[in-house]
């Protein structure tokens, strides 16, 4: 039976060849046709040449929440994509490829790792196909498994295009990405108008490019009509009507726009993957329009290092500006001393931490959740901070506003955890409402009229909550000091034991105040029935895959509940009763199951099972279904997930 309106599509190619553009065109066209989209990008720390690929999952009926390991339609224009991904295509699915690549030896593919070559040869040998060292074997195996093969003479198509529109061949070849997308849509019988509209939008500033690419779409649709039919292919797409406007964003963009919505006026950064895109987005949007029609905006400074980035943002925060910085593991390592300073001086500051594979340089462009403990405990001494994690792109928008609020309400640094996976996941979503999360600025000292100049107790101990009203630098009639040293109420260095104890108590009391003040629904979310057969606990970007996996398991009679922890410091102790439906299963992108350790530390609760992945790639729901079944049916204590060709 044909699947209509649901599809997992993958395109791959050398970095710099336009894979991203192709995926953007595909996603946008699908979305214009009413489909819900989730895109996921995997790429190397490289500018040109190494393999990158992009998964786009489409659904006519609901928003996909995670990518899929199994691919319905693979589109490639070179051999490396075939080599790396042909084995991922499902029976009944299809592979579109360049006829030139049908017999390329693996050894001739420059960037194909030796480990991949060996595993490909091993799998092909085990499967008993004739050719075990070239793409020919992969295509042979695919066909044997019921995958439809669609060889395409790319060179002839370019030639046709060049002749028909009288453009040089080189120009015609630049439509390669459009070709790849058009081939896919033509095979899927998806109306070409949506792709043409997407082209007009993506290349809006270049009418000639639009014209040529739109012409290329017709060439491809004609070619496919005469050469390949959808008949044997298990998938079809059609345009559907959907309610309401939709945007398409990744988490870099969502956080950036969320920060603007939250009143950010000062951002600093030092370039680092995968955090940079957020700051560069802000640099491109330093001026925005308010609802009242004014122009205002944000100052963005690229600094000499991450030490300067956090120090500069701290300085801005002292004046009352809403300030933030964005970084990844190595940069956050450099920031740690100043993190302690902001905690000591009770300076509101947001650090958006895009986690990537560590330790050290690790894997700059691959995802990981291994920075949880680092965020919780970074720095010397007992330095209060708030640690908050977003579960998906939409959350990232609202959480960007919330974290700016927390920083000012509780006068401490807030580490907003996102990761590479969310940063390079693009989804369709309803237009976020900036007014949904009110802006709260905490207690700010207001001077009395002309009382003369006096020293003010910025760090007043006359407080139940630990909060002393913030005195913004420049506030008239008063002044005070502030220091990373232990200090008096006026902010002057002291080593007095009694003042030390009172100040330390005051700063730490704010964590209790935060725990009392932040509403439960912002601290954690619970999904699934109260009388579930098992409980999954996790945090961060695993959310989407877990929710989809639980739905599938429910259809199989396994009813699970999911507790998503968002506030990790101060830890929400009230989740303890929610973890009683056993077994309790941790899902995390680490080797060391950090949240399980945190649960033991904070609640004395032990998890029963751990599902872990630390290859640098995010979970797909399919992997979690398999892993949860292994845990629930075979009682495996720990399942680690690893794909050979991801």
């Amino acid at each position: 039976m044909k699947t209509v309106g649901e599809l997992s599509w993958r395109i791959g190619g050398p970095q710099g060849s336009g894979v991203d553009t192709a995926a953007r065109l595909f996603s946008l066209a699908a979305s214009l046709g009413g489909l819900n989209v989730l895109g996921r990008r995997e790429y190397y720390s490289n500018i040109i040449g190494r393999h990158s690929y992009y998964d786009v999952r489409l659904s006519a009926t609901r928003q996909p929440r995670s990518h899929r390991i199994r691919v319905d339609l693979l589109t490639s224009f070179e051999a490396e994509t075939l080599a790396r991904h042909a084995l991922s295509v499902v029976p009944g699915g299809g592979i579109i490829y360049n006829v030139k690549d049908e017999d390329t030896p693996f050894l001739r593919i420059t960037f194909l790792d030796e480990r991949v070559r060996q595993d490909l040869a091993r799998v092909l040998t085990e499967e008993g196909v004739e050719h075990t060292t070239s793409t020919k074997g992969l295509l042979e195996l695919a066909e044997k498994r019921g995958v439809q093969l669609y060889p395409v003479p790319y060179d002839e198509l370019f030639k046709t295009l060049s002749e028909r529109f009288d453009v040089p061949l080189g120009i015609a070849q630049r439509t390669r990405n459009t070709l790849a997308v058009a081939l896919s849509f033509a095979l899927l019988e998806f109306p070409r108008e949506f792709l043409k509209e997407a082209l007009a939008r993506v290349f809006a500033s270049k009418p000639k490019v639009v014209e040529l690419n739109q012409a290329a779409v017709d060439v491809i649709y004609d070619y496919m009509a005469s050469s390949h039919s959808n008949l044997a292919f298990d998938f079809r797409l059609e345009g559907v009507t959907q309610d309401g406007p939709r945007m398409m964003l990744n988490a870099n963009q969502a956080v950036a726009i969320g920060k603007l919505a939250g009143g950010l006026t000062f951002q600093t950064y030092y370039p680092i993957s995968p955090a940079t895109d957020e700051s560069v987005y802000l640099e491109a949007h330093t001026t925005y329009r308010t609802r009242e029609g004014d122009e205002q905006g944000v100052v963005v400074v690229q600094t000499e290092d991450e030490i300067s980035a956090i120090a500069m943002a701290s300085g801005a925060a002292l004046t009352g500006a809403r300030a933030a910085t964005a970084t990844s593991g190595p940069g956050f390592s450099l920031m740690v001393e100043q993190l302690g300073w902001t905690s000591m001086t009770e300076t509101p500051l947001v650090i958006t931490l895009y986690m990537r594979g560590g330790p050290s340089t690790g894997m700059p462009t691959r995802t990981d959740q291994g920075d949880l403990f680092f965020a919780l405990f970074a720095g010397h001494g007992e330095a209060p901070r708030i640690v908050y994690a977003s579960g998906d792109v939409e959350e990232a928008f609202y959480d960007a506003i919330r974290t700016l609020n927390y920083a000012e309400m509780f006068q401490m640094p807030v580490i907003h955890l996102v990761d590479k996976a969310l940063a390079s996941t693009t989804v369709t979503l309803p237009v976020p409402d900036p007014t949904q999360v009110p802006i709260r600025r905490g207690e700010i000292f207001v001077p009395e009229e002309d009382e003369g100049q006096r020293i003010v107790k910025r760090f007043s101990l006359d407080t139940e909550t630990g909060i002393s009203p913030r005195v913004l630098l420049g506030t008239p009639h008063v002044h005070h000091w502030m220091t990373g040293g232990e200090h008096t109420e006026e902010g002057r260095v002291t080593e007095d034991p009694v003042i030390r104890v009172r100040m330390h108590d005051k700063r730490l009391a704010k964590l209790e105040y935060a725990a009392k003040t932040i509403p439960a629904e912002e601290k954690f979310q619970v999904f699934g029935p109260e009388d579930a057969d098992f409980t999954v606990i996790s945090w961060g970007s695993t959310k989407g895959a877990i929710l989809e996996a639980l739905e599938i398991l429910e259809q199989k009679g396994l009813r699970g509940r999911f507790v998503q922890v968002k506030l990790l410091m101060p830890f929400p102790k009230e989740i303890a009763p929610l973890l009683e439906r056993r077994p309790l299963i941790l899902v995390e992108l680490t080797r060391t199951a950090q949240l399980a350790r945190l649960l033991r530390m904070e609640l004395g609760v032990e998890v029963d099972h751990r599902i872990l992945k630390y290859s640098g790639r995010p979970f797909s729901f399919e992997e979690l279904v398999d892993a949860l079944e292994a845990v629930l049916e075979r009682r495996e204590e720990e399942v680690t997930v690893l794909q050979l060709f991801e």
Binding site: S31, L32, V37, Q242, P245, R246, M247, M248, L249, I257, G262, G263, T268, T286, R289, R291, E292, D294, E295, Q296, G297, V298, V299, E304, I307, S308, A311, M312, A313, S314, G315, A316, L318, T319, G320, A321, R322, A323, Q338, W341, V431, P432, P434, T435, V437, P438, I439, Q453, L473, G474, T475, H479, H480, W481, M482, T483, G484, G491, R492, V493
Partner: protein
Amino acid sequence: MAVETKPRWTVKDFRAPYEVDWCPGCGDFGILNAIYQALAQMGVSPHETVVVGGIGCSGKAQYYVNAYGVHTLHGRPLPVATGIKLANPNLKVFVVSGDGDSMAIGAAHFVNGGRRNVDITYIMFNNEVYGLTKGQASPTLPLGLQTKSLPEPNIQGNINALMLAFTTGYTWIGRGYAYNIKQLVRLIREATEHPGLAFLEVLQPCPTYNNLHTKDWYQGRLYDINEEGYDPVLPPDADDATRRDLYARFMEKVFEWGDRIPTGVFLVNRNLPTFEERIAERQPHYRIHPPALTRIRDDEGRSLLDIQPFYEEHRAR
């Protein structure tokens, strides 16, 4: 150069009512007195003034000034001060930093600060030693010298701070001496009134740990280059020849050391826009709504951001 205004605040007003814990005879006292006098003469008020210090003896100076005082980490006063100034350009921002703070642990910030030219007055207290940790060699102590705490002569060379400031783009460069308060007041005022990043090195004996470059040693060696006719100003319309001439004179002076040690104003370059002006050029709203003074919510506390342009940019349907 300085405009005389009737001071509303006196030296007494800027003197913070707390005990000072520098060693007796420390050059820092001279610098502090010069700061008080300069502030009083310039007519700025304490609440508009922010003094940002690092770690070390110099990093205590802000505690003794009645003004907003920010005591940062070792090496970080300049980036913190930059954040303060950019977020609220109405404030007068001073950095008080030491030779270790500026030239060693904070060197990256010192260098890159020059690229920005934020309107800050940067005073570097240079006594060639790390006093608070008992006299180790700092990056400004010349190679081969052995101050009294060093077990061996200094095995590392020294940085010429004025030259470094010059090559990295500081637009006002001067040098004073901790015990020549009259000159120092003039230099601090000129540095502060200069629109842009001004670097003032203050030579300063450390009576406890620097037994080589003492008050007696400096006596008779120091002279004022401006009194000897050195013109530090790079004219707005300077041609290449004028520019080269000033740079050559500058180099000659900053490398002079020994029997004669030059002080005074070495460079005044008003031809580069400040970082604030560069931002305002791109974002005209910056002048009206700098980050600290931007209204970010309406009376009900709701965000003011109009999401519509973002929707249009990222419209999926």
